[in-house]
Symmetry: C2
Amino acid sequence: MTKIKSLRVHDVRFPTAAAGDGSDAINRGDYSATYVELFTDGGPTGTGFTFTNGRGNEITCAAVEALAHHVVGRTPAEVRPRDLTADVQLRWLGPEKGVIHMAAGAILNAVWDLRAKLAGKPMWQFLAEMPTADLVACVDFRHIDDALTPGDAAAILDKGRVGLEDRLAQLRREGFPSYTTSVGWLGYPDDKVRALTRAAYAQGWRAMKMKVGGPIDDDVRRARIIRDEIGPDALLMMDANQVWGVDEAIANMARLAEMNPYWIEEPTHPDDVLGHARVQRAVAPIRVATGEVAANRVIFKQLLQAGAIRVMQIDACRVAGIPEVLAELLLAAKFGVPVCPHAGGVGLCELVQHLAIFDFLRVGTSLDGRMVEYVDHLHEHFEDPVRTRDGRYLVPEQPGYSSALKPASIAEFRFPDGPAWS
Amino acid sequence: MTKIKSLRVHDVRFPTAAAGDGSDAINRGDYSATYVELFTDGGPTGTGFTFTNGRGNEITCAAVEALAHHVVGRTPAEVRPRDLTADVQLRWLGPEKGVIHMAAGAILNAVWDLRAKLAGKPMWQFLAEMPTADLVACVDFRHIDDALTPGDAAAILDKGRVGLEDRLAQLRREGFPSYTTSVGWLGYPDDKVRALTRAAYAQGWRAMKMKVGGPIDDDVRRARIIRDEIGPDALLMMDANQVWGVDEAIANMARLAEMNPYWIEEPTHPDDVLGHARVQRAVAPIRVATGEVAANRVIFKQLLQAGAIRVMQIDACRVAGIPEVLAELLLAAKFGVPVCPHAGGVGLCELVQHLAIFDFLRVGTSLDGRMVEYVDHLHEHFEDPVRTRDGRYLVPEQPGYSSALKPASIAEFRFPDGPAWS
């Protein structure tokens, strides 16, 4: 029985703000990781993280320290996620949202990485081969059982066993569909957008996402450039990063509809379930997509109940790790909404490929409307980086969650004492 | 022009957990304050805080440090709340929720305390006498303007001028209605509940709140004790502190309805707008009340749009200070829902009395269904503590937000180095 002997957290920051990479209507920062290592006696080291945007990464690190006693001294299987998410003192700082929840996610991601490594399997396989009862036991059904019961979850997961081997063979042949966000950050001038779009199309991408939420005339002009480059058949997604009000989102999408967007992502405030529902009704058949900053499974439950989204974008780091993501995948399957994970940042591509593959193998069981975001940043810092071919993710094969940073990268980019910052 | 020269934050914790005070279905902690002082050159010191539940208070303190640069070097009037709530790097940690938002609240409460002190007025008066245009300019309408426009806000505030002097005279004669929560914490045995209820009734209280959310048979038994003591006419409120699922809340309230509760508070997860709406439809005419952990004005907007609450419980410390509370009071007035502020903890009674009085004078303009929570804890640590008479708050008259802790209390209870903790 391998016990978690100690926890160490690193404040790792990459200086991305200066380049305009990752700039959108509302965020601009230095992509950072609150990076957790769980040490064992002689066993593997579990690694996990939550992604942040630079300043404030020290706050999530402090929150990790405050939660560490819930895992140190236990075996991975003994860790109870609710100890972290419903701590009688710390939950006041959420509950189940923001800093404290992201810190729980960093820790629980590391715990599940350790479990997968101990099993000698990549995360997608570790989850896909887990007995239904064990998967159901991972899920905290409190506050979602009006939409998803343990019985519902078991039925979905049992059904997911049928044809699993065929789906895996298909993935190994073809890879997992993805789209690229690297062409249209708000910080890029028009000619750079055109050049990047042309290059991405040449590389095989047939789905691309642009940022909107600047002055609407600029958004329209940039959207025309991209649509002009990719032709009528490739998919163009738009992402407003929450900047619009509800009425404003509806009005702006009426103008952008000319470029036939596949989805509008984060049209308004992420907490506004009713607002998203209004936008979805107004902009259909354009899909509303959201989720990268949805605080927890209770928000996703409502987005689904209200018919507010037609694409659900889970995040690997904002919620309480694998167990809560599992709840979210099951909710999406129950409501028949496709999951297209949010990626980019630091290491999000590395993590969500496992979630998307598991979803296809055992939960959603379809590739229809499924795509994983792909952003070509910072992969070189990971021990087991994503691999893509012709705009598709290849199946990762190393044990664990692909979450380990290279020691040299940690040393170089540790804040504030790493050479990159001093 | 008084400039904010520097900011200091104190981690102050009171060891309340051991006594069972403040114990409910989901929280038990050491009542704490992330306490902010804003120093000026020769002018008064602004004080503000956010309330936490013990462990983790160091995290909100770290978040205050990360936001401090948005106020230091500015005059109070130059502080722009959105600089704190939409910081391009820090907002990723929310947005507008949890640790980072509570820290913004602590700072902005201190900024507004400083403004009121510079004007030489208690906060309620400073706000009540402010020109409509200035009040409207304080509000961030982004993401709520589908429910409340600047024009709506101005109309409410202009109308609130009519009869203001009469309402103030009434308050000075009679005080502001309140209710007590000190009789029925979950940590108390039955005989203590009975004795406290009897004592409170003898002191003049005609509205009392008990905690529910334990085993339902225990909740029913304790409710019978209290109803038995207070007779059929006094108000009995119940507070489940978020512990129930939606269906569970409906089922349990069917049993507790026998004791004729006035409201059920926090019946389920605070993010669950649709869940609260279902509960409200099922338990009517019992009122659903919530808000002490509603993350921001966008959650309140939806609770009102969905008809999910009939009592709105604002909190002075969870959201981004006076400006966001102002938005919430205006939303409640627009939808015609009475505001009954959450209090207790550390210093929440001291703060919310100002908000309730301002609401009566200038926004809601009625006492119908309005009550401020009262908990008799920790007032002795404040320079300008609340004063009550016959279950009513008396109008505070000192300049500022009544938010200043006594220096001796800060020194005694500072964590971890104060004598109370070492």
